[in-house]
């Protein structure tokens, strides 16, 4: 069995009965290897469709999860259970639970970085005050707004007004957490929260893959929320200067907010400034200053001056990317897409109204960005297999469009690996309106392929 990867979370979906006899059969050696090489921030086992489990069955997965956590420093645990199952797990492992428990996948998603700019208000209760605080801090660091109930009675009262909250967090437990630098997105800026004493460990806790992904999909402003930083040493300084150098290639800006130099040598500030890092006292100094935000790149990609040109390597593989797109559409819809025209140009969208777009970056032996622009009806049709219902909201279509473009990225990766080309793909990004896409893409030159599908046109755009 392989984990299903959505965003930065991998989930094993088990079904039926789970005990010590059958649990090892769910995981072949290949499955274990594939799991260890997953590029995720969280790995979970869903118990939603498990009607019976015992400790021996869970132990098989706990062993794998622990191994992956030790290897990759990610969050691991179980999700999708009811109160009875939660109590059973607690009784099996007592107070020694060193993995996390999330009542639902929706709750787990609140504790990982996404490409989305969506702060959620959630109601939170845990009888253990230290768990309560840890969850509140993590949620806050990931950009959410936790409403913390201090007592069970307060929780029960607040719980009645479910409409006020995106999620109600109970029967949830954080195991080893805070191993990764918390990340959130505000507008077009990515905010990382760092704290305490920064040393060589920052290189392990900072999610460099996510950072590179964000650069590849067009983010240009990265802010380190450093209010809680006490001090840093030379190793951390080296890490940040290297980060600044790599960001410069994309014309991206790195800022520190709230960092004091009481216990950090003042000379470090000069070194960081020399590397291009900027310092601000408060977050509002950046986020509420629209002009500055635009100048720093947080207003989108329009200010990017340094364009990365199309190169021969990318053009040579164009057919693979188009094949991946057309065959994915064919697989998902049983209908054929046909190519109408192919031109090297900036992205040109004839009718920007009623269109959705999605993009996915890739890097490795070649790097670039695939952008797909669909009329809403085509987007919906393309995602029908994934959604399964005809009455769907725009948000559901956009979520599925992200999955759709992820499959295309995966197929392109497979096709290119046949030519011995190694490729990694970024998190997909979706756009509910073309204006937001154009902020990032309007000045980029690329290959635009106009395709038609069931009488309507859609655009494939490949750029760097």
């Amino acid at each position: 069995m392989r984990a299903v990867v959505k965003g930065r979370i991998g989930v094993f979906h088990l079904q039926g009965f789970l005990d010590g006899n059958n649990a090892p059969s769910f995981l072949t050696l290949e499955d274990i290897r594939a799991t260890e090489s997953l590029n995720v921030d969280m790995l979970l086992v869903s118990l939603k469709k498990v009607i019976f489990f015992n400790k021996n069955g869970l132990d098989v997965f706990v062993k794998l999860l622990t191994k992956v956590r030790n290897l990759k420093h990610i969050v691991v645990g179980f999700c999708d259970y009811d109160h009875t199952k939660f109590q059973a797990i607690n009784s099996f492992y007592g107070h020694d639970i060193n993995f996390s428990l999330f009542k639902s996948e929706k709750i787990a998603e609140l504790f990982v970085a996404t490409n989305k700019n969506d702060s959620k208000t959630v109601l939170l209760y845990n009888a253990d005050p230290s768990q309560r605080s840890a969850m509140a801090i993590e949620l806050f660091d990931y950009g959410h707004n936790p409403v913390i109930a201090q007592s069970l009675s307060e929780f029960e009262t607040k719980k009645k007004t479910t409409d006020l909250y995106y999620a109600i967090i109970e029967d949830t437990h954080l195991g080893f957490f805070g191993q990764k630098v918390a990340t959130r997105v505000t507008g077009n800026a990515v905010i990382y929260t760092i704290s305490n004493f920064l040393d060589a460990e920052i290189a392990e806790t900072f999610n460099i893959t996510y950072h590179n992904n964000s650069l590849n999909v067009g983010f240009r402003l990265f802010i380190f929320d450093a209010y809680k930083v006490i001090s840093m040493n030379i190793h951390a300084l080296n890490f940040f200067t290297k980060l600044a150098s790599s960001a410069a290639e994309y014309n991206a800006t790195i800022c520190f907010v709230g960092l004091t130099f009481e216990k950090t040598p003042e000379i470090f500030k000069n070194d960081l400034e020399d590397a291009g890092i900027m310092f601000f006292e408060t977050m509002d100094n950046i986020l509420k200053n629209k002009e500055l935000l635009q100048e720093l790149g947080g207003g989108g990609g329009a200010t990017v001056k340094q364009h990365r040109a199309l190169n021969k390597g990318l053009i040579n593989e164009l057919s693979h990317f188009i094949d991946a797109t057309v065959s994915t559409l064919n697989m998902m819809t049983n209908a054929q897409a046909t190519k109408n025209s192919l031109n090297i140009q900036t992205l040109t969208i004839a009718n920007p109204a009623d269109q959705f777009a999605s993009s996915i970056g890739f890097y490795g032996d070649i790097d670039g960005l695939i952008i797909l622009v669909f009329p809403k009806a085509i987007a919906k049709k393309a995602c029908e297999l994934l959604i399964g219902e005809s009455n769907v909201t725009d948000e559901e279509v956009l979520d599925s469009l992200a999955e759709f473009v992820n499959i295309i990225g995966g197929r392109a990766k497979v096709l290119l690996s046949e030519n011995k080309k190694r490729l990694d793909i970024t998190l997909p990004r979706t756009y509910s309106d073309i204006a937001t896409l154009m902020e990032i893409a309007q000045t980029k030159k690329g290959v635009q392929v106009d395709l038609s599908f069931e009488g309507q046109n859609f655009i494939f755009f490949l750029t760097r």
Partner: protein, 263 residues
Amino acid sequence: MITPEEVAFYIQNIPPTPSVVQQALAYAREGDLIKAAKYAQEDPALRLYLKTLLNRPIYGFKNEVSDVSQIFGILGVAATQQTLYHYLLSLLLPKKWELFALTNHQFYDLQASLGKRWETILDHLKIDDKEIHSAIALIPATIIVCEALFASKKKEVEQLRSIKALDYNTILKRLSGYDLFDLAAQIGQMWEMSEKTISLIRSASGVHNELFAEQKVLAQWIHLLLFYQFSQSTYVSAGLNEFIDFQIDFVQDIYDSFCQVVQ
């Protein structure tokens, strides 16, 4: 990936019931096991199948049972009918399993244990109806149909499943409008099974809401029995645990009774 035309083509190519089996089934339905055995005796493949099936460990016979009349006598009317359907299903087996890591012997084991456990369940439910008894025989047809339709699409399905937990049944339903249980029911229709049997097969997917009280209870038991079987190590390794969607809420209210009866 899979078009409605491909599904229709598959159904059209289901072989009809061989005349000997048809006759044996007709007599078994009437309760005349002697005449049924006489016809069954004429088909060497059926003879071998019956002998192999009855000597599987789940039946627990100390001595080899080889005579067809003896086999039918041991099985009784309902189980004979069920076994003849099992045999029919074996005619659809692939030469080589590609989608699922199964062997034909493991498939026969699955048929045998489903049949025996279904018998225990019907005893518990105090249901003595040979049509209902036979229904379980066609449930494994879902596995054969799935193998036939998806074997050449394994890579595509793997890619799809790497980003979304979709089972084969759901994929097929969304692409062609038919689910695997509908197709198993169509096979039942071609083999002239009773309407009661066919509708029970259809409802075993656990996704239909408009079921009569008895039909719902039986569908719940079949659905949970399937997942009990698919949770056995052999079938987990074969990939059967992931092939249809387990409707846990559909079976929740019979779970405790199931544990007492089956486990």
